[in-house]
Amino acid sequence: MGETVITVDNVGMEFNLSKEKVDSLKEFFIKLMKRELKFQPFWALKNVSMDVEKGDRVGLVGLNGAGKSTLLKLISGVMKPTEGRIRVKGRLSPLLALGAGFDPSYTGRENIFLYGALMGHTKQFIESKFDEIVEFSEIGEFIDVPLKNYSSGMGARLAFSIATAVQPEILILDEVLSVGDAKFQEKSRLRMNSLMEGQVTILFVSHSTDQVRKICDKAVWLHQGKVITQGPVDEVCDDYEKFLQLKN
C-alpha cells in the first residue's frame, strides 16, 4: 500500500466545439474566405487532480458528459491532455470496447494473435496462453472459422477471454462486462472477481452507483469536467445519489 501508480495532476482537456466540423480542404478554404473558421473552446475536463495508489479500486461516477470517459482515455494514453500531467506506473489493461481490434475476415485463431499483439504481448506469450483462451471462450471447433461467421455472443466471449487471460496491473473498465448467455455471464463474473483479487488497481466507470459500490473502495464524482468530491466509495456515492434526487 501507499505506492502511487496513477497521478493526475491538474489536468484539463479542451475540445473544439464549433458547430460545423471542417474536415475537407474545400470547406477549409471556403470558410477561410468567408472568415467563418471559428474555434469554440469547450473544456471537457478542468483542473482535475487525483492520485491512485496501488491496489485502489476507484469508481468514476457522474452524469453523461461529465468527462468520465475522457478521463479514462487520458489515463490510458489514447488522448493527451491539453494541460496538466498524467503519470502511470505499471501496465494498463484496458477492457474498453470488447473486440475493437478484431478483424472479421480473420479466423478466431488468427484474431487471438492479432488482439494479443494489439495489447502489446509477444508471440511466445500469446502461444503460452492460447489453449487457456480457447477453452475459456468455449469457441471449440469454430476457432478456425472466420469471425464474420460467428454469432455476436461468440465474438464477445472470445474478446473477453483474451482480454482477461492476463493478470493485469491496472485494469480499466468502462461499464461492467456482461457477455454471452447466463452460464457464460456467471463464468465471466467469477473471472472478473478473481482478477480483482490481490494487488490489481482498478479504474471503473459506471452510471450505476450500485455497481460502483460493489466493485470499488474509492470513488470520484465528476460534474461538468470538474471533480466535486473524491474519497471513500460510500461517502461519494451518497453525495452523488442525493444530488440525483434533488435534480429529479
Partner: protein, 262 residues
C-alpha cells in the same frame, strides 16, 4: 532528444510483434478470397505488361529495346509507390476505432500499410527476373546494386505515406486529390515511353522526379547491366531521407490531434 529516442526504441520493441501481425494480415487478407492467391501479384503485372507490349509494338514505333523489362521495372516501382502511399494515407482513418480505444503508437498502422505493399513488390520482382530470363537479358553482378535505389524507394514511400496519412486526417478530400496527383505522376514519369520524347525544355520534370531517378537506377542495374550514375542515386537517396524526415516530424507534431479528427 536522447530520452525521446530511447522511449521510441522501447516502444518499437514492444510493438514489433504487432507490426509483424499487421503486415501479415494485410497480405493474407488481400489474397485469401481469390483462387490464385498470392499468384495474383505475379499475374497482374505480367498481364498488364503483355497488353502494353502488344499495344506499343503495334500502334507505336518500337523504339525501346526490350520493352517488356523496360516497362516492368518502371511500372513495379510506380505501383509500389502509389499503392504504399495510398494505403498509408488511409490507414489512420480506417483504423480510427482502434486508435480511439487502445493506446498504440499510431505510426505503426501507416508503416504496416507501406511494408505490406513492399513485400508484394519484392515478390513481384520474381516476375521481373522471369521476364528478364525469357528476353535474354544478361544477369550481371550489378543487379545487387539495385538494392540501393530500392532502399531509397522504401524510404520515400514510407515518408510520403506518413505525410499523406497526416494530411488525410485533417482534410478527408485529400484522398481524391492524391488520386489525381498519382495519375499525373504516372504520365510524367517515363514508365512506358522513352524519356527522350519529352522536349528538352520540359526535361526538368524528369530530373527532379525522385521516382524517375529510382527507376533509372533500377533500369541500369537490371536491364542494362551497368553501374548507374552516382549523382542520380544520391538524388534518389537524398529525396528518400528528406521525405522520411519531413514525414516523421509532421506526423509526430500532429499525432496527438488525430484522435479529435478521425
Amino acid at each position: 532528444m536522447t530520452i525521446i529516442g530511447h522511449r521510441f526504441l522501447v516502444n518499437f520493441n514492444k510493438y514489433r510483434y504487432l507490426l509483424n501481425e499487421l503486415v501479415k494480415r494485410d497480405i493474407k487478407l488481400k489474397y485469401r478470397r481469390s483462387v490464385l492467391g498470392i499468384f495474383w501479384s505475379f499475374l497482374e503485372p505480367l498481364l498488364s505488361m503483355i497488353v502494353l507490349t502488344i499495344i506499343f509494338s503495334t500502334l507505336f514505333k518500337r523504339n525501346i529495346a526490350n520493352f517488356p523489362v523496360y516497362y516492368l521495372i518502371g511500372m513495379l516501382t510506380y505501383q509500389f509507390f502509389a499503392g504504399g502511399t495510398k494505403a498509408a494515407m488511409l490507414s489512420m482513418v480506417s483504423n480510427a476505432y482502434i486508435l480511439k480505444t487502445i493506446y498504440i503508437p499510431k505510426y505503426l498502422y501507416s508503416l504496416a500499410a507501406t511494408l505490406s505493399n513492399f513485400v508484394t513488390y519484392l515478390l513481384s520482382l520474381i516476375i521481373l527476373f522471369m521476364v528478364m530470363a525469357v528476353t535474354d537479358v544478361n544477369f550481371t553482378m550489378y543487379i545487387i546494386f539495385a538494392s540501393l535505389p530500392i532502399l531509397a524507394l522504401l524510404l520515400l514511400t514510407i515518408g510520403v505515406g506518413l505525410i499523406m496519412a497526416t494530411i488525410n486526417v485533417f482534410f478527408r478530400d485529400m484522398q481524391h486529390l492524391y488520386g489525381v496527383f498519382l495519375m499525373l505522376l504516372m504520365w510524367l514519369t517515363p514508365i512506358f515511353y522513352p524519356p527522350e520524347i519529352v522536349p528538352t525544355s520540359f526535361r526538368f520534370v524528369q530530373t527532379y522526379n525522385p521516382l524517375f531517378a529510382i527507376i533509372t537506377c533500377c533500369r541500369s542495374s537490371f536491364l542494362y547491366g551497368t553501374l548507374y550514375d552516382i549523382n542520380i542515386l544520391l538524388f534518389a537517396i537524398g529525396s528518400g531521407i528528406t521525405a522520411i524526415v519531413v514525414g516523421i516530424i509532421l506526423f509526430y507534431k500532429s499525432q496527438d490531434k488525430f484522435i479529435l479528427h478521425v
